[in-house]
Symmetry: C2
Subunit: 209 residues, 2 copies
DNA sequence: CCGGAATGTTAATGTATCTAACATTATGTT
DNA sequence: AACATAATGTTAGATACATTAACATTCCGG
């Protein structure tokens, strides 16, 4: 029933997905989210009004693209976590670097995912943000490092914020302009190691209220 | 010559600035940057075409608003730095908290300043981003803490990234959804303290290439 | 006080989103 | 198979906004 060959030329057969793909391509090509609805429709081979049978409005199409992006991020995150020893420092660092790479390799999708004050982000998207994978890695690291009684949720947020912030500043070329030839991956790694060193030094510091 | 009373009703007298103010207000009210050029014009009491005598296009008006926002951030940053002992850890933390407050108090301006992949940011804006103030605070702290031979530029970027990332995740309500009742200021403070602890523990770690 | 530069106005123009009315195809029921 | 109906497309606007063109008024330097 998902075989588009069953449809004639009048009905597309899988316009919903075709529009998501077209929109993603256009975002990639334009380098931003400012493509025209009609352009996506044309690329999918339908008239400019057809998309509205599948998406309430332009925003809804963007939501759908964002959801796909979150799923891709989640997949990447899981793959990275799976290829590093659970509880290792290298796993946490690899997760951060993967996040950094995801953002900087697809800067066009950043706004889609995190921009607009996050109005587009759903609970489902957050579950696909890789955060829970990071939190698990942090928990495992705390156990392995014999750091007990830590607020792993808070730790994960702090580590995430560091990677996110660096990704953000790297993406909009802010880091480059302050540090020529900056290696953001090296920055993230050393920043993370310093932070974890700090935890080892003073593990009892809790942050939740 | 800046006295608008010298002008009659036909000429506004200070439309350039009035438009910047109107745009800022509209951004604040709409909660985003999606106001109409004509709306800003109406608020300034002129016709919808008048703004184009002062700004090439809508983008140019947004640039101008962003520049004002950067100047405000710079001023805030300098004030905070001046009210804390130079070289103190509290100064670095206060700077981070001020940054966090600036972003979360005016979330509408975030996209304007850092969004759109930072295409709007000029060199002048960066000088007004508060970064150099932070870098100076970090340098002073390193001296006071007898941590020598450190890459203060890199350290400042790392600290900035942490504050920026947390601000970003707080602003789009991502942190809230993972941690109910999260106190982002407390998170930033403990994160920063842990990081500085890590530096004290292992100060020789350098990151530049 | 005159002439040009600035700055405003009104009236298009072009483009984008979205809707309305209508056409065609798919699907499920008898 | 034949029909009813839902789903999905199409064309032709309606509306909103950015921007420009042509023209009007005011400011300011000589």
């Amino acid at each position: 029933m998902s075989d588009s060959k069953r449809y004639g030329t009048y009905h597309h057969g899988d316009l919903h997905n075709a529009l998501i793909v077209a929109a993603a391509e256009l975002i990639e090509e334009h380098g931003s989210v400012d493509f025209a609805m009609a352009e996506a429709a044309r690329r999918a081979g339908v008239s400019s009004a057809a998309p509205y049978r599948h998406f309430r409005d332009r925003e809804a199409l963007l939501d759908a693209v964002a959801q796909v992006a979150f799923i891709a991020l989640d997949q990447l995150t899981r793959d990275v976590a799976a290829s590093h020893p659970r509880g290792s420092e290298s796993c946490i660092i690899a997760l951060g670097k993967a996040y950094l790479g995801f953002v900087t390799d697809h800067p066009q999708f950043y706004d889609l995912m995190w921009g607009d004050q996050g109005l587009r982000i759903t609970e489902r998207d957050l579950a696909n943000s890789g955060f829970y994978v990071l939190q698990d890695a942090v928990s495992a690291w705390c156990e392995a490092t014999e750091i007990r009684d830590e607020d792993t949720l808070g730790l994960a947020v702090k580590l995430w914020a560091t990677a996110h912030g660096l990704a953000c500043l790297a993406m909009n070329r802010t880091v480059d302009r302050f540090m020529a030839d900056a290696d953001i991956y090296a920055l993230l790694e050393s920043s993370t190691r310093t932070f974890l060193d700090g935890l080892r030094r003073n593990p009892a510091e809790k942050t939740r209220l």
